[in-house]
């Protein structure tokens, strides 16, 4: 492939977050408003994050499937101050780990600031109209 920098320049900010060709389909999917997660064609396991080899069986035949987009909060934290390198303009915001219906855990951010503990709450993914430049958020359902 051509240099990644060039690709990124063409693809917009969300697609440019990929660090390698192996992770690019996930970010390209988000930029189109689709939550794509990798699945190993050898053992059939979903996994996250995307990589060249399956962490369950070391298989290298990896496909991307569209996730249902629903899951459960397994961890949540609301940033209340802007420490070094935290995104100050976003504070307060609620970071979450979400267990998808497909079984894998994916990091993300809640659409709103959580009021109180939300571990165990069901959530669904929500894309902005300009998904190519704005990351998805998780909404409490």
């Amino acid at each position: 492939m051509t240099t990644r920098q060039d690709d990124h320049a063409d693809r917009g900010p969300v697609a440019s977050l990929a660090s390698s060709a192996a992770t690019q389909p996930h970010w390209d999917g988000l930029a189109r408003g689709e939550l794509l997660i990798p699945r190993c064609e050898s053992c059939g396991e979903f996994f996250f994050y995307p990589r060249e080899v399956c962490p369950s069986c070391a298989g290298r035949d990896i496909s991307f499937r569209q996730a249902a987009g629903t899951g459960t909060v397994v961890a949540a934290s609301t940033a209340r101050v802007a420490l070094n390198a935290w995104p100050a303009e976003d504070v307060p915001y609620t970071a979450v780990l979400v267990r998808l219906e497909e079984g894998v855990i994916i990091p993300g951010r809640l659409a709103q600031v959580a009021e109180g503990p939300i571990v165990g709450a069901p959530v669904e993914v929500s894309f902005a109209a300009n998904a190519e430049s704005e990351l998805p958020r998780w909404k409490l359902t």
């Binding site: 994050y49 961890a75 609301t78 940033a79 209340r80 390198a85 855990i105 571990v119 990351l135």
Partner: protein, 381 residues
């Protein structure tokens, strides 16, 4: 027998803000201090394990330290296993190098300007970290990842803010007895609960104290150690398990297998948990102490608050925890001072913080966001 390894020296710099000193100078001071404590000199060193500063990326740091001290080890390496496990791994490798006959005197050290030397824009550790699937959502640094797992732990085991506070209060109490502790002002539950929220559910007083400083340990072959002045200490058992690097890959608290790690390390020492006289627990955040104490079986899951409020962490109990004040209140030097304190306790040299008759110490902890965990059992040789 003669090839067995003994811990023969410890070194610890003053902890504080030293913007006009480098990590090399701080580690150099700790190493020379440890060698002097052992009755050895730089020219005796033939093995060197170090870890370069997290606050500033560094390469070939073992060479840097060897050059700075003018030593010529036959074996030197930087070891970056993570957190307390970095020093644990250095000690294990030092023991192996001595047992194999490669080395006679091995130095292990870590230290940095964590408070004053951090590069602008750096995260909890170095700016070279790029966490592709976390950073874009604001899952950055160390506090937020730890806060995420704190929320999961509290939800599962019923841990309350007051329980986290009890950990912080005990550590502060111990630090008040330690002349080389950063935070000695007494703390009560109101002060803890009133401290500002950083990343829910973690408050400021759940976080360790970032500090400049360094620590070092020296190991020597048993026949040499017998000629040296200090009471010899033995690394009697160790166990390590790795699970993940990124918080998003956290496999669940059961998967850390802390109870098995503790049992394995103790078995190697021919001991059981109730034999432990003093425990030094990695406490980057209060939740760390909770996870390790409950996971290792010092108390039941969800029971640490009651355990702490009953004084079980404090000096005078059967097994005091973090008698030096820990990372929370003494200061965060990557866990190396947990090992230094264990040696001090086993030698009977801990002064106001001495655990009467301490013969067996456990150092337990991890690195990353509970991604690598290890247990070391140390005893008088």
């Amino acid at each position: 027998m003669s090839r067995e390894a003994r811990i023969v020296g410890i070194g610890e710099t003053a902890l504080g803000s030293f913007p006009d000193r480098t990590a090399v100078e701080l580690q150099g001071e700790a190493i020379i201090g440890a060698l002097e404590d052992a009755g050895l000199q730089c020219r005796d060193v033939d093995g060197l394990f170090v870890l370069g500063p997290y606050s500033q990326p560094s390469i070939m740091f073992g060479l840097t330290i060897a050059e700075y001290l003018g030593v010529h080890p036959v074996l030197e390496a930087g070891i970056d296993a993570g957190g307390t496990v970095s020093m644990l791994t250095m000690l294990v490798q030092a023991v192996r190098a001595i047992e194999a006959g490669d080395c006679k005197v091995v130095v292990c050290a870590f230290g940095e300007n964590a408070a004053t030397g951090r590069l602008s824009g750096a995260h909890g550790w170095t700016s070279s970290d790029r966490v592709e699937f976390e950073e874009p959502y604001g899952v950055v640094g160390t506090v937020i990842p730890y806060a995420l797992l704190t929320s999961a732990y509290m939800s599962r085991f019923g841990t309350k803010p007051e329980d986290l506070g009890a950990i912080a209060i005990s550590a502060r109490g111990h630090a008040s007895r330690n002349a080389n502790a950063l935070r000695k002002k007494p703390m009560d539950l109101d002060a803890y609960l009133g401290s500002r929220m950083i990343a829910e559910p973690l408050r400021l007083l759940d976080c360790s104290s970032i500090v400049d400083g360094a620590g070092a340990l020296v190991l020597a072959r048993a026949d040499l150690a017998a000629e040296l002045p200090r009471r010899q200490i033995r690394l009697a058992g160790t166990a390590v398990r790795t699970t993940h690097r990124n918080v998003g890959q956290f496999p669940g608290f059961d998967e850390l297998q802390l109870e098995q790690l503790g049992r394995s390390a103790l078995e190697q020492a021919g001991a059981v948990l109730s034999d432990v006289d003093v425990a030094l627990i990695h406490d980057a955040f209060t939740i760390s102490t909770v996870v390790y104490l409950e996971g290792l079986g010092f108390c039941e899951r969800g029971g640490v608050g009651e355990y702490a409020r009953a004084g079980k962490l404090d000096l005078g109990s059967d097994c005091p925890v973090n008698t030096h004040g820990g990372l929370l209140s003494q200061g965060h030097v990557g866990g190396v001072l947990h090992f230094v304190e264990a040696v001090r306790q086993l030698r009977g040299e801990a002064g106001d913080s001495q655990v009467e008759g301490a013969r067996l110490a456990m150092v337990a902890g991890g690195g990353g966001i509970f991604g690598v965990n290890g247990v070391a059992v140390m005893e008088r040789a």
